[in-house]
């Protein structure tokens, strides 16, 4: 039997955005082909969150020589460790380049489920503070949408995936459709009101909002608090596409999923002015194949989608598909993160935690919400947590012998409380992705050349993260307060966004208000590439909402025979 090569819809990528596109398209009755560059993942064998240190050759310290050989870049991500490295690409097969003076870290996961397997699971809605930011200060272009356009789609997504959080009623961080919140620790509960009081109610420390189930939901089980979500979850308690959106798509009977399919270009039909479909390279056989469809959704991740469009050249689009504006690849962003402070919390020595909370505390953006800070534009949220040191402290503290050993078994160190900022980056045309003419990946596709730099605004904000967190720890009664500055290069936060931004006019961006390419009406880009600014919130929930919203629009157009 010949393989089917024509579909109603093609989705490139099977991660957070691709899974949502697949679910929504198939549930609308469209025969949908999902193309995933990486191989299949079988949770029963590949999810390894319950493997204990004594079951690992290096006891969790990492197979360093293997990581250095296969994952010299990926290993800088905390999740690319002794157990988790299989969910990260091999750097040798997947090169990218950057100017010597502009380091960039591109952490990638090519497998069914994409980076939804290893993501950080934090989910924060955007607000109009974010959607109007570009218009207000003139950096970047005005978003063609506002919070009201996305709010119902946030709800749609949150109800399906299940998210935990506490309602706070704050305009700059709208509440979502929350399952019960996770508990704060005793020291976090103690710090929250002290910080509120010290800063006129403007600095709100709330429990993290996360795509993790705190009770059974939609056929998936509640979290059992084992800890290392980034290694997978056999109970499907945190959201990933593998255990949630892709099964929903499969249930419709309309899904075809093709792993090991590296999409090389989107095919353009100049007569019809439409995308025909895509050309792939089979990752294993290296054969080229073409698939056609009425509509194409790019959900390959920000830089992959940009790279794919840049590599889709034709007479009509010599500089990359849907690039009549010349803006494709420009205005790439990531969050600058990691600067903050930590302190010791006196007391509470009769208290401890039980279970591993796969979540932390969140300090809601308080800068440039009501008044303008003198040193920088935009703002940041802070993420952190509290804990008592366990036996691990024994490696660095003086002592030996029976009493020393017993103290490590019976006692815990003092409580520490810390948090670091996740900051908004100003959109800048010079932060861009192009194709490297000289470097190709294993499948012959030109590598991305990434040039993104932190600038003055980001550096000023980093300084404030440290000072502000130190003040809050002081207000909370901490001692031994230490600030930490971050040297993380762009990309390290894995919140890369922009490059095919949405805009109000065709000359000002790549996508319209429905994530639809201005130049190619049956082409949609719904991953992070569509973002016109980057807020300070972890972005995945917004990609999911925009994807569902874009599919709804595409389906409406298809029904009207406009696509």
């Amino acid at each position: 039997m010949r393989e089917t090569t024509h579909f109603d819809a093609i989705v490139v990528g099977s991660g957070i955005s691709g899974g949502w596109a697949a679910k929504e398209l198939t549930e609308h009755g469209l025969k949908t082909l999902v193309l995933e560059a990486g191989g299949p993942v079988d949770p029963n064998h590949d999810f390894v969150e319950h493997v204990q240190p004594w079951q690992m050759h290096f006891r969790g310290l990492g197979d360093r020589k293997l990581l250095e050989a296969d994952h010299p870049i990926q290993r800088e991500c905390y999740a690319c460790d002794e157990m988790g490295h299989k969910f990260f690409v091999k750097d040798g097969e997947n090169p990218y380049t950057n100017p010597e003076d502009a380091p960039f870290r591109w952490f990638r996961g090519r497998q069914v489920g994409g980076r939804s397997i290893t993501w950080g699971r934090q989910v924060y809605r955007w607000s109009d503070l974010d959607f109007t930011a570009n218009a207000k200060d003139g950096h970047g272009n005005d978003w063609p949408i506002r919070y009201a356009d996305v709010a119902p789609w946030y709800s749609h997504v949150e109800r399906f995936i299940g998210i935990t959080g506490a309602r706070e009623g704050l305009s700059q961080l709208p509440d979502g459709e929350f399952l019960p919140p996770m508990q704060m620790t005793c020291v976090e509960q103690d710090a929250r009101p002290k910080i509120l009081k010290a800063f006129n109610g403007e600095r709100v420390m709330t429990i993290g909002r996360a795509a993790i189930l705190t009770k059974n939901h939609n056929g998936r089980l509640a979290c059992h608090y084992c800890g290392p979500c980034e290694r997978g979850c056999i109970t499907q308690s945190y959201f990933n596409s593998l255990g949630s959106t892709l099964p929903a798509a499969r249930k419709t009977g309309n899904l075809a999923l093709r792993p090991n399919s590296v999409v090389a270009e989107v095919l353009y039909d100049p007569k019809k002015g439409r995308a025909n479909g895509v050309r792939i390279v089979d990752a294993q056989t290296m054969e080229s194949r073409e698939y056609t469809a009425r509509v194409v959704f790019l959900c390959a991740s920000t830089i992959e989608s940009i790279r794919l469009l840049l590599n889709s050249k034709s007479t009509r689009f010599p500089d990359g598909l849907a690039n009549s504006s010349g803006l494709l690849g420009h205005y790439v962003m990531d969050h600058h993160y990691g600067s903050g402070a930590s302190g010791t919390v006196p007391g509470f020595t009769d208290k401890r935690t039980i279970g591993h909370r796969p979540n932390g505390i969140y300090i809601v953006r308080f800068r440039n919400v009501k008044t303008q800070h003198p040193d920088f534009l935009r703002g940041y949220g802070m993420q952190g947590g509290s804990s008592r040191a366990g036996w691990g402290r024994g490696g660095g503290t003086p002592g030996y012998g029976a009493a020393f050993k017993q103290s490590l078994i019976d006692e815990l160190g003092p409580w520490s409380l810390s948090a670091s900022g996740w900051g908004e980056t100003l959109p800048n045309a010079d932060n861009r992705v192009t194709l490297d003419a000289n470097v190709k990946d294993k499948w012959g596709i030109p590598a991305a050349h990434i040039e993104v730099r932190w600038r003055e605004n980001e550096r000023a904000m980093d300084k404030d993260m440290m000072a502000a967190m130190a003040e809050m720890l002081d207000a909370a009664g901490c001692t031994d307060i230490r600030t930490h500055g971050s040297n993380n290069p762009p990309g390290h936060c894995i919140h890369e966004m922009g490059g095919a931004r949405m805009s109000t006019t065709a000359s000002d961006g790549v996508l319209n208000r429905w994530n639809q390419a201005w130049d190619v009406k049956n082409l949609f880009v719904t991953d992070g590439a569509c973002m016109a600014s980057n807020g300070c919130q972890n972005p995945s929930i917004t990609y999911m909402a925009l994807t569902a919203r874009a599919v709804s629009h595409a389906v409406t157009l298809m029904k009207q025979n406009e696509l």
């Binding site: 064998h45 390894v48 493997v51 204990q52 240190p53 004594w54 079951q55 690992m56 050759h57 290096f58 969790g60 310290l61 197979d63 360093r64 905390y78 999740a79 002794e82 157990m83 950080g120 934090q122 508990q183 993290g208 089980l221 509640a222 059992h224 608090y225 084992c226 800890g227 056999i234 109970t235 020595t349 208290k351 401890r352 935690t353 039980i354 279970g355 591993h356 909370r357 947590g385 804990s387 040191a389 366990g390 036996w391 691990g392 402290r393 490696g395 660095g396 002592g399 030996y400 012998g401 020393f404 050993k405 017993q406 490590l408 078994i409 019976d410 006692e411 815990l412 996740w422 972890n538």
Partner: protein, 202 residues
């Protein structure tokens, strides 16, 4: 957490059985006594064991050597360390073995008389005195202090991540089924650290 749901869905044993075979096989090789190629010598293993047991001796819980700490350290030094790190560690170990506390030189007793034999062959008390002097040294940076603290952190890690200590001493719960942020301390067997899993990250 609905523990019963979990058990019903996966079976108590099944949930714990998803262990990658390659990882298990690798550790099983070491646990069965097969040493890493170009690993530590017998004398080095004995020295590591003697120091490890001085740090974490046998009480009503096992000692470091009881749970295979020297074999773990052999794996890390021989298979995980880079060549320069390995060379430095082995040199540091040798320096540790013959180290004399600085105070000994001001003592009327000649240093050699106070340290008649390498560290491994000293009595427990004598060895403890050496460890004590090393830990009191003003800086951890010069050798052999540097290697001592590296070794100590490996000893502690190897001990508390061993199967026996994890299960029988710390009573680690793989699936706690709940998170409590304000639980009372127990008299013994406090909650293990989250060191293995790292801090929560977005």
């Amino acid at each position: 957490m609905q523990r019963r749901d979990l058990l019903r869905a996966f079976g108590a044993a099944t949930a714990l059985a998803f262990i990658p075979h390659d990882a298990m096989a690798a550790w099983a090789r070491v646990a069965s006594g097969i040493r890493p190629a170009a690993g530590l010598t017998d004398a080095q293993l004995m020295l590591v064991g003697a120091i490890a047991d001085t740090m974490l001796p046998r009480t009503d819980s096992p000692s470091a050597t009881d749970v295979g700490v020297p074999a773990f350290i052999d794996v890390i030094v021989s298979e995980n360390y880079s060549e320069p790190e390995r060379t430095a560690f082995l040199a540091g170990l040798e320096a540790l073995d013959s180290w004399t506390p600085p105070s000994a030189s001001t003592d009327s007793t000649p240093a050699r008389a106070m340290r008649p034999s390498p560290l491994a062959s000293l009595s427990g008390d004598e060895r403890a005195r050496i460890l004590d002097a090393i830990e009191r040294a003003p800086s951890r940076r010069p050798e052999p202090m540097r290697t001592y603290w590296r070794l100590k952190s490996l000893v502690v890690h190897g001990y508390f991540t061993s199967e026996r200590v994890s299960k029988d001493v710390l009573h680690v719960e793989v699936m706690p089924g709940r998170f409590e942020g304000s639980a009372p301390m127990r008299a013994r067997n406090a909650s293990p650290s989250r060191d293995m899993h790292g801090a929560p990250h977005a």
